[in-house]
């Protein structure tokens, strides 16, 4: 059980997050479970990550802060929808668990994983990164302030080195 997920959960509640949107990822497993177990959080499972960008813009229009949990491959699915948050200057906090980098065994993850910070920045998203488990909570805290208080699109990339590279099992 990863303690940084529990700390992130408390941090997000303290930041006033009311909506959590996600496409499942192993790195976010614990945080998703905590969110689903809290009846005061509105937690939405998506079919594709771009729905989450649109959902959080709607949430903001209605007065709710939210967070999008996704894997780096899902960042590619979000690209055009990020224009919505950018053009309306809607605070957007994305927590991205990385694939396709540190110790990746699946070559099909590498192209999108390597392109993830580039495409986010190309869309005007501020990219922060944590490559050590010790850095995750403070980086997300900084990101949430940038997102919610400075009204920016922020992605915190949680590196495969911090999570531990997925290993291939039969």
């Amino acid at each position: 059980m990863s303690t940084w997920s529990d700390a992130l959960y408390e941090l997000l509640l303290d930041a006033g997050v009311k909506q959590v949107a996600y496409v499942p990822d192993a790195g976010h497993k614990r945080l998703i479970e905590l969110a689903l177990a809290n009846p005061d959080l509105k937690t939405t499972v998506l079919t594709t990550e771009e729905e989450g960008v649109a959902l959080l813009v709607g949430a903001y229009l209605g007065g709710d802060r939210g967070v999008l949990l996704l894997q780096s491959s899902g960042v590619g699915n979000c690209i055009n929808m990020l224009s919505l948050a950018a053009e309306c200057r809607v605070p957007l906090l994305m927590l991205v668990t990385m694939r396709g980098e540190w110790g990746e065994f699946n070559p099909w993850q590498v192209t999108m994983g390597q392109a993830t910070p580039t495409v986010l920045e190309a869309m005007g998203t501020i990219v922060l990164r944590a490559d050590d488990a010790e850095q995750i909570v403070e980086t997300v805290r900084a990101g949430s302030v940038l997102a919610f208080d400075s009204g920016r699109m922020v992605a915190v990339l949680i590196g495969q080195r911090a999570i531990g590279a997925k290993v291939f099992r039969k």
Binding site: T44, E51, L55, L61, G62, S83
Partner: protein
Amino acid sequence: MSALERRAATARLLKDRGDALVVTGLGSTTYDAFAAGDSPLTFYLWGAMGGAATVGLGLALAQPKRRVVVITGDGEMLMGLGSLATVGVQRPANLAIVVIDNGLYAETGMQRTHTASGVDLAGVARACGFAHAETVRTQGELDRLARAAYEAPGPFFASIKVAPDPTSIELAPRDGPTLRNRFRAAVLGSDAAR
């Protein structure tokens, strides 16, 4: 049977909207809603194709005591077809999605959409677990829809089959921060600045 005309159908749908929150999909449905009368409680999308239904979902979850009505086109809805499944899982009682279905991509030169070849959006919504899903073809059905879209328990879905005739472009406001701020001020009052 003479098909419904899109601009008149949208005006009928919005006539008795009261304090409902309205999100419109890019292109013709944004123009139709603006032509029916501007309101700070209407959030016009000018892009984000495929996102109208989930903008509506996030809004409906944030404002559970308000009715939220998404009005969008068939092409826009088709690009976000998975969002009907997402809405079907969340089951917001206060959300209605109404598709103005001309079977065409009007913005790009009137190319046929999947609905013109028989894809049944109301059938998809039904299969996704919507509380109500129907296809509207007549004025009488439209008149009933113009009440039910605001009153029937959601998630509620209707596809209004409209004539393919082109309509004028009515330029709704399109500055994002302006739309955002006026909408939030109208919904949240003094909390909008927080």
